[in-house]
Amino acid sequence: MGGTSSKLPKDLLSEYQELTFLTKQEILMAHKIFSELQDRENGLYSSRVSMEKILTLPELKSNPFRKRICHVFSTSDMKDGSLSFEDFLDLLSAFSDSATLEIKSHYAFRIFDFDDDGTLDARDLEKLVNSLTGETDDTRLTGEEMRQLISNILEESDIDKDGTVNLSEFQHVISRSPDFVSSFKIVL
């Protein structure tokens, strides 16, 4: 244990276990990884790790939503997407295997809500689709296709027909999906 335990007191560890869907090993692992990221922050030591550092993690590197994920889980006052260790644990907990559908869908919604306005409107959806189809031009959808796609999505999911998908509508859709829980996972 040595260094790890000195940094992560036992009672805090048990509290973390209580509050997340992670096991003890996972928390310790997360702590190790997090401290490594911290140490790379040359010079001054801070309790937060900047978004750039977090995004160097291989688990997040190729994720098209990596920046959104950081922003959603960050409790930083600066809105810079930097994560404290607790934020990091929150992230891992939400993406862990045993997290409930409810919490996963909640965070998924916030990740997809690019402008943080509490609903997924057409612009959010467009951004979302663009993130899914990748950055290169040849995989992009044309404007016509995009329009069609978004109108289809809204037709399906927008139950109250206000032109946006809100959280409960989103959760309604997600809860029937067979794949969501198994794919909305990040394992360290």
Partner: protein
């Protein structure tokens, strides 16, 4: 902590709260508010001793908000001094920030309160009163915990708590009772809390068991909250605060709960519970630590996505099952026989016959599981029929039989249980009403951590989008349907030909091998000896490729094509397996005929042996003959076991060799020849191979089927399989990582899990059929195996019942097993199945109806919402025209209240929707009119009540009351 830091954090918070976009604020407003409340409560209790002081503060604050900040800071400092030294720095800091936020919120709150003059002022008053009273309580409680009166008091407050809790959001169950009352006073009408408060004051002096009960309930609620906290989407800070508070609460009151004698017991119980929880958690940790290959699978997951990883998870699952099977056969059959049974060479069945002795140690023979391997615990024939062996009086034949049955029963249980669990998880996964939404919201696989895979995934998502759009646009264009039909029929015909051909080939080969066996295998080479297995393996290797080619004729959608392909391979494997079994049955008949001859010869041989001596003189010492020289029957059971073992071995070998040649060699060639080749090998023809998930899973399933089939006659099979799976795990992991490329056509992992399981179940059933048939209908060999000498294998049960159990038990058993009882029982079972089936059908129908109802409900809601929104907009417009600039914000509120009250009169559930519809236009309105009075940011912020109602109703439950509608958004 120095003061300036506090101030800095305060400013931080104000930035967060105020500078943030209006919309955003309205979304997360409630959360912030909750936060602040939490902090506030905590603070209140902690500062219980300083009640008077704080009361002063409160009044002061009410007088001027400007000073509040200062006061709060002071308070914070005091509190800080008071704080425990061991408190963690981090927690402290964030708690303080919370408090700052809280102060800020209070400020804002009060400003808005001021604006909403009449009602809101009263509310504030109630709030304060609440605060004060609670502080009273808290103070007393702290001073003398033992005082029951205090308990009564708190019990009373708790009671209130409990009543409200179920209705409210769990979140509001805060540590201190005041929270609930506070939030309650906020969200409900103002008179109610007041009266409740009065009640609380009235009962303050008495304690009844009822109230104790309430307190207990409250404690239980806390506990539940602690247990469910991890499922709440709050930031960790908040969770930590709430957790600590709840734990404190529970600790404090749990001990005080029991009275007199009960108290000790209760405390003891609580302690045990705590220990138990801890143990459970540790055990959970231990369990996850024991799961093997987690890292390997994770790595594959990140490179190839969840579909490839699902194969390895399936493999691991299989490994687990085989581990159990192995444990059973090894522990209860092989080890007892090896340790306690008669040693090798003591009786004929445990000795290598004389004519085989010379070659019994040859590697080729051993590899073929002949020679010494054949006469060992690995096979059925070695076991002795002695009823009880060793000093333990271990009933080996019985154990052998029960283990055979038990392995199958266990497998059934596990497979069916897993299937049921999967079915649960899948829910209504097959309805396609959210096709596009699912594609958008759930298609990304967050496990992917490899750029190349990510690119593939991007491409496949794009394709699926485009496909879906095209499909949507032109629902179906049938160009030359006749040609397609003809091609499909042709393809199926070809496939059938292939299947029949392969079946015949196997039958032919098996018959030929029997001929070889009759003539003596020694005269033939390796090929003749291993012909059957090789042919089966080769067919299993090449036929799927052929099917793949044929399926291009059909022009199906990839998903459908994949299913066809899987179905065909399944049929092929099954056909091969069954041809093999039928051929084996023939072999069994041959052996039994041979056995008859041997039996006859045996008597002649015996007569020859006792030649000259008087056979009926039993006292004469028997002539000792070495067991190797005694003639013996062919023992068909061992033969069957051997066949299966050989099959498994050759199957394993082919799998590994295919892996090495097909994947590794190909990858090496492509990689290194690419530099000196005329076309691009990496992207051109050979390319790297993809990992064939479905084919591999099928292979695994069939392999398992063979294990189930053969395990009864060769107890070593589970062990062999375990070895094979273990090696497979490492070899395939390595092969996948080093020579495969991520799939282009992604086969969804979760949807197919139950498909695989269903196949496994079918295979399990089909493989137990022949095993059961042989056990039940063919008499065991007369001179080998644990059941030798009996007419049927299951007679061992009868024998045990007669000799090991009291007579009445046997009688009862025979009564129970007579047809008169069994048949009604079967009938009952059938009836039960029928009943369950029809109930499930009914449920399904009810479900469908409910779905329909929901849809119509939603339609209705939509209309009403539109109407309500229109009305509200109209009224807003009027108010805007009527109101001067000065009172614009106030009139705004009035309109909102009015409209919601109208709504409530009509439909309660509309409130949430309504609020949401009003909100945007209203805030826009406020911005447009730019009220000069509200120069501060707080006026543009929607008041708390609207913050609550800003979410829509849950589509699935449109009738839920308003309170629940905001619980959904957290």
């Amino acid at each position: 902590m120095p003061r300036h830091k506090l101030i800095a954090s305060e400013s931080d918070v104000s930035i967060e709260v105020d500078v943030g976009k209006d919309n955003e604020f309205s979304l997360y407003y409630v959360e912030v508010e909750e936060n602040s409340q939490g902090g506030q409560e905590k603070q209140t209790t902690r500062d219980g001793k300083r009640r008077r002081e704080r009361n002063g503060e409160v009044s002061r604050r009410r007088a001027s908000e400007k000073r509040t900040t200062e006061v709060d800071t002071k308070r914070a400092e005091k509190k800080h001094e008071k704080r425990h030294k061991t408190a963690r720095k981090e927690g402290e800091k964030h708690e303080k920030r919370q408090r700052r936020k809280n102060a800020d919120e209070e400020e804002a709150e009060e400003e808005s309160n001021k604006e909403k003059k009449n009602i809101k002022n009263e509310r504030t008053k109630t709030l304060r009163r609440d605060d004060e009273k609670e502080k009273d309580v808290k103070k007393k409680r702290k001073k003398h915990v033992k005082n029951e009166e205090d308990n009564a008091n708190s019990g009373k407050t708790k009671q209130k708590d409990c009543h409200d809790m179920p209705l409210k959001e769990k979140k509001k169950k805060r540590k201190k009772p005041e929270t609930t009352s506070e939030s309650e006073s906020k969200s409900e009408s103002d008179s109610a809390p007041e009266s409740k408060d009065n009640q609380a004051v009235g009962v303050l002096g008495s304690l009844t068991p009822e109230e104790l009960e309430k307190l207990k309930e409250a404690v239980d609620e806390r506990k539940k909250l602690i247990a469910t906290m991890r499922g709440k989407p709050w930031p960790m800070k908040k969770k930590l605060v709430v957790l600590r508070e709840s734990q404190e609460f529970v600790e404090k009151y749990e001990g005080a709960l029991g009275k007199g004698k009960g108290r000790k017991l209760y405390a003891y119980k609580v302690m045990i519970m705590k220990k138990w929880m801890k143990f459970q958690r540790d055990f959970e940790n231990f369990k996850t630590a024991c799961i093997p290959w987690e890292m390997k699978i994770k790595e594959i997951e990140s490179h190839f996505g969840s579909s490839v990883a699902s194969y390895f998870i399936f493999l691991r699952w299989m490994y687990g099952i085989n581990m159990i099977l192995f444990g059973l056969t090894f522990g209860l059959v092989m080890v007892p026989e090896a340790l306690m049974g008669k040693p090798y060479g003591s009786i004929p069945r445990k000795t290598v016959p004389r004519e085989e002795e010379a070659s019994a140690m040859n590697f080729a023979i051993l590899w073929d599981f002949g020679g010494y391997a054949k006469y060992s615990v690995l096979f059925y024939g070695y076991y002795n029929s002695q009823r009880a062996i060793g000093w333990l009086k271990f009933r080996l034949p019985l154990s052998y039989f029960l283990v055979g049955v038990g392995t199958v029963a266990y497998s059934y249980m596990v497979v069916i249980r897993t299937m049921a669990r999967n079915a649960n998880e899948e829910g209504g996964g097959d309805d396609t009403s959210f096709n596009f939404s699912w594609k958008t919201f759930t298609s990304w696989d967050y496990l992917i951590g490899n750029p190349e895979t990510a690119d593939n995934k991007f491409a496949s998502i794009t394709t699926s989008f485009k496909e879906a759009i095209v499909e949507e646009q032109e629902s179906r264009k049938d160009d030359n349907i006749h040609l397609t039909r003809f091609l499909r029929v042709l393809a199926n015909f070809l496939v059938l030909c292939c299947l029949a051909g392969s079946g015949y080939l196997i039958y032919f080969v098996v018959r030929r091998s029997q001929k070889f066996a009759l003539l003596g295998l020694e005269n033939y080479g390796w090929w003749e000896r291993n012909e059957v297995n090789m042919v089966m393996s080769l067919l299993g290797m090449f036929c799927p490729m052929l099917f793949d080619v044929i399926s291009t004729l059909e022009n199906y959608h990839p998903r459908v094509a994949l299913q066809w392909q899987l179905g065909r391979i399944f049929a092929l494997f099954l056909g091969n397996l069954y041809t093999f079994i039928i051929a084996l049955m023939d072999a069994i008949q041959l052996k039994r005929a041979e056995e008859e001859i041997v039996k006859k010869n045996m008597t002649i041989w015996q007569a020859n042996l006792y030649n000259g001596t008087v056979p009926d003189n039993s006292t004469a010492p028997p002539i000792t003959v070495h067991p190797a020289d005694i003639p013996r029957g062919p023992c068909w059971e061992t033969m069957v076991g051997q066949e299966f073992v050989r099959l498994i071995i050759s199957d394993t070998m082919t799998t590994y060799i295919t892996l090495l040649i097909g994947d590794f060699l190909r990858a090496v060639l492509v990689r290194f020849l690419n530099n000196c080749w005329c076309w691009d090998l990496e992207y051109g023809f050979p390319s790297y191979s993809e990992f064939d998930v479905s084919g591999n899973v099928l292979g695994l399933i069939f392999n398992q089927g063979m294990i189930w089939m053969g395990a009864f006659y060769a107890p070593c099979l589970p062990a062999l399989n375990l070895l094979r799976l273990h090696v497979s795990m490492y070899l395939q992991c390595w092969a996948v990582m080093c020579c495969n490329v991520p799939q282009e056509r992604v086969f969804k992992a979760s949807g197919s899990n139950n498909f695989y399981m269903a196949m496994l179940l079918v295979i399990l059933f089909l493989s137990t059929l022949p095993a059961i048939y042989t056990i039940v209908s063919i008499p065991p060999s007369f001179d080998c195996g644990p059941f030798s000498g009996k007419t049927r294998m299951f007679d061992v049960i009868q024998e045990t019942l007669e000799s090991d159990f009291p007579a009445w038990f046997g009688k009862m058993f025979s009564y129970a097993s007579n047809p008169g009882l069994v048949l009604p029982f079967l009938l009952l079972l059938v009836l039960a199945i029928y009943y369950l089936q029809s109930t499930s059908k009914t449920y399904k129908r009810v479900n469908m109806e409910l779905k329909k109802k929901l849809q119509t409900q939603n339609e209705e809601n939509k209309k009403k919402n539109k109407l309500a929104a229109l009305k509200a907009a109209n009224e807003l417009e009027q108010a805007r025209k009527a109101g001067e600039q000065r009172s614009s914000s106030a009139s705004d509120l009035g309109v909102n209240e009015e409209s919601s009250s109208i709504d409530e009169a009509g439909h309660h559930r509309q409130a949430g929707q309504n609020g949401r519809f009003i909100h945007p236009s209203q805030s826009q309105h406020t911005q447009n009119s730019e009220p000069p009075v509200s120069s501060t940011h707080t006026t543009t912020r929607p008041p708390a009540s609207r913050g609550h109602t800003s979410s829509g109703h849950l589509p699935g439950h449109p009738q839920q009351p308003q309170k629940n509608s905001h619980s959904n958004r957290r």
